[in-house]
């Protein structure tokens, strides 16, 4: 029997505020343990939380960007459970009255565009970090620096039909959050975390199967693999006549399997109730419109615009709009060079390659868009060849000098002068009578050999177009 998966994702995104959601402690990552704490986020008796306005603004921003309805009145609630990462014994979250409802995210699948619906987006506080010590002393160490950092939880509808769609959805969501500047999207540092609800059902069936919650999907690669494993596992259980049990499973990247989570059997009984320490959150229309007015162009809009405005392929536009900064860089280079496709090739090729090699961000790129356009101009004017330009680019990267200065200093100007090149061609032909005879006997592939020899003799400075033309004539014996 064929089975089809039904997937919904719950994504937690840390908001890029300076201070925590209910107190003034810094949200800075990487400080020594428990140095970003105060009586509020430590859960001391008698303290009161006060809501960070910026956190609400960021949550609304995301809600507007993905077409949610922003509720004029929402309510914080206590989610009660005992776990050492939560000093109060409850997490302040939202329950039946979230800030944003509905909306959706459009993703690009292999076939077409598809809208993944959203159930809700709500605000909550993050929990602390636990370090489970190995060995005899059997202790768990608690760092509460992260406790109280503002999060939004973005809950999708069960609209995702495959692990690769889940991956695409997450990529697009991350991209939107980066464009909005509300989250740094760093999965390794936990700024973006993902849980999945997954079930399978016989293909074509309307009824949902029993869902399993998958936790610890903390990299893009894991998410796809964990879902693939879990879907197969469930299909095999059903195939064998068994039943899928509703449970939480943890993905283990080392063994590439999912295992049942123990010890939290009762934890799902959270006994939510309205948070008495915080008044209802009232958001007026004026504030919402102010935030709406400040929304940037979003990834998919920008992608479509790049295709329309610069005539570049959709694939290029996809890569170039991954982040706002990269798209800014590309547009600057396209405009400065007047050669949008050429700029796209350079940015997607050399620029991204070097950035990846040096693990750097585009904002730290030592070759500015103007300088890149200058280099492209030299190729277009025939001053240097394309392959030599790559060398010049390397040097621009290393020295931060402009392309014309490097070409001048190193005497790299391309040789396009026909008499000069003809003399070199004559020498090469005289030195290689064997290949010449082969060529004249009809082995036209030998042309490549002569191209290489001439380029070598000009130290790579020969103009390939001119050489090819001249060689064609000379080799034929004319």
């Amino acid at each position: 029997m064929e089975f089809e998966p039904v997937i919904g994702l719950e994504v937690h995104a840390q908001l890029l505020t300076q201070s925590k959601i209910f107190c003034g402690c810094t949200t800075r990552f990487g400080n020594p343990p428990n140095t970003n704490t105060c009586p509020v986020c430590l859960g001391m008796p008698g303290v009161l939380p006060v809501l960070n306005r910026k956190a609400v603004e960021y949550a609304i921003k995301v809600g507007l960007a993905v077409g949610c309805e922003i509720r004029g009145r929402s309510l914080f609630a206590r989610k009660n459970y005992f776990y050492p990462d939560l000093p109060k014994g409850y997490q302040i979250s939202m329950y039946d009255q979230p800030l944003c409802v509905g909306g959706g995210i459009t993703i690009e699948t292999r076939k077409d565009r598809k809208r993944i619906g959203l159930t809700r987006i709500h605000l909550e506080e993050d929990a602390g970090k636990l370090i489970h010590q190995e060995g005899a002393d059997d202790r768990t160490l608690v760092d509460l620096n992260r406790a109280g950092v503002p999060l939004i939880e973005i809950v999708s509808e069960p609209d995702i039909a495959s692990p690769s769609e889940a991956h695409t959805y997450l990529t697009m969501l991350r991209s939107i959050l980066l464009y909005l500047g509300v989250c740094d999207g760093n999965m390794e540092e936990g700024s973006l975390r993902c849980d999945a609800n997954v079930s399978v059902r016989p293909a074509g069936e309307k009824q949902f199967g029993t869902k399993v919650e998958l936790k610890n999907l903390n990299s893009f690669r894991f998410i796809q693999k964990a879902l693939e494993y879990e879907i197969n596992r469930q299909a095999e259980v059903l195939q064998g006549g068994g039943k899928v049990v509703q449970e939480s499973r943890l993905y283990d990247p080392d063994s590439d399997t999912t295992d049942l989570m123990r010890g939290k059997e009762e934890a799902h009984d959270y006994r939510y109730f309205p948070e008495p320490d915080l008044l209802p959150l009232i958001v007026d229309q004026k504030w919402i419109e102010e935030i709406r007015a400040g929304l940037p162009e979003l990834p998919l809009e920008r992608r479509d615009r790049l295709v329309a405005q610069y005539g570049i392929p959709a694939y290029d536009a996809d890569v170039l709009t991954t982040t706002r900064e990269l798209a800014d860089y590309y547009e600057a280079a396209a405009k400065a060079s007047g050669n949008p496709k050429g700029a796209s090739n350079w940015v997607m090729g050399e620029v991204l390659r070097k950035l990846k090699e040096e693990k750097a961000e585009i904002t730290a790129c030592p070759v500015s868009p103007d300088r890149l356009a200058g280099l492209m101009g030299l190729i277009e004017a025939g001053t240097i060849s394309g392959s030599l330009a790559k060398e010049v680019f390397e040097e621009m990267w290393a020295t931060r000098h402009a392309a014309p200065d490097i070409v001048k200093a190193r005497g790299l100007t391309q040789i396009s002068d026909e008499p000069e090149l003809l003399a070199i061609i004559d020498q090469v032909m005289a030195a290689n009578p064997g290949p010449l005879a082969q060529y004249r006997a009809g082995k036209s592939a030998t042309l490549g050999f002569f191209m290489g020899q001439v380029m070598k003799a000009t130290q790579g400075k020969g103009n390939p177009t001119v050489i090819q033309k001249l060689l064609g004539e000379k080799l034929k014996g004319s």
């Binding site: 505020t17 300076q18 201070s19 107190c23 003034g24 402690c25 810094t26 020594p32 343990p33 428990n34 140095t35 970003n36 704490t37 105060c38 009586p39 430590l42 006060v50 809501l51 960070n52 306005r53 910026k54 956190a55 609400v56 309510l75 009660n80 459970y81 005992f82 776990y83 050492p84 636990l130 370090i131 489970h132 010590q133 059997d138 202790r139 768990t140 160490l141 608690v142 760092d143 509460l144 943890l250 989570m261 123990r262 010890g263 009762e266 009984d269 006994r271 309205p274 008495p276 915080l278 008044l279 209802p280 959150l281 009232i282």
Partner: protein, 95 residues
């Protein structure tokens, strides 16, 4: 009695509390009388009444996103029975 002893035991567990059988019986009776009272309130038709989550009529007060000094780590950890390397140290829990 409308409340089961098992329910009381479950709630106690969720609240991290341990009781003797005798105590559980006492709580079951007390909770039951509270529930009887709630049932009485339920006789009222509240369909057109907004649920009351808060009794003050004020809106949310905000703070601006400004960092304020945190506690010294030693003070933050001062109430902890056991600490290690700047952390609270607790009996091992399994994620």
């Amino acid at each position: 009695m409308s409340i089961q002893l098992e329910t009381v035991r479950h709630i106690a567990r969720l609240a991290n509390l341990e009781f003797s059988e005798e105590e559980l019986g006492i709580f079951a009776r007390q909770i039951d009388s509270i529930l009887v009272y709630i049932d009485k309130l339920n006789e009222l038709d509240t369909q057109r009444v907004e649920p009351t989550s808060h009794v003050t009529q004020k809106d949310q007060a905000f703070r601006e996103d400004r960092v304020a000094p945190s506690l010294e780590v030693l003070r933050a950890l001062a109430n902890s029975p056991e600490t290690k390397d700047g952390h609270f140290s607790v009996p091992k829990v399994i994620g």
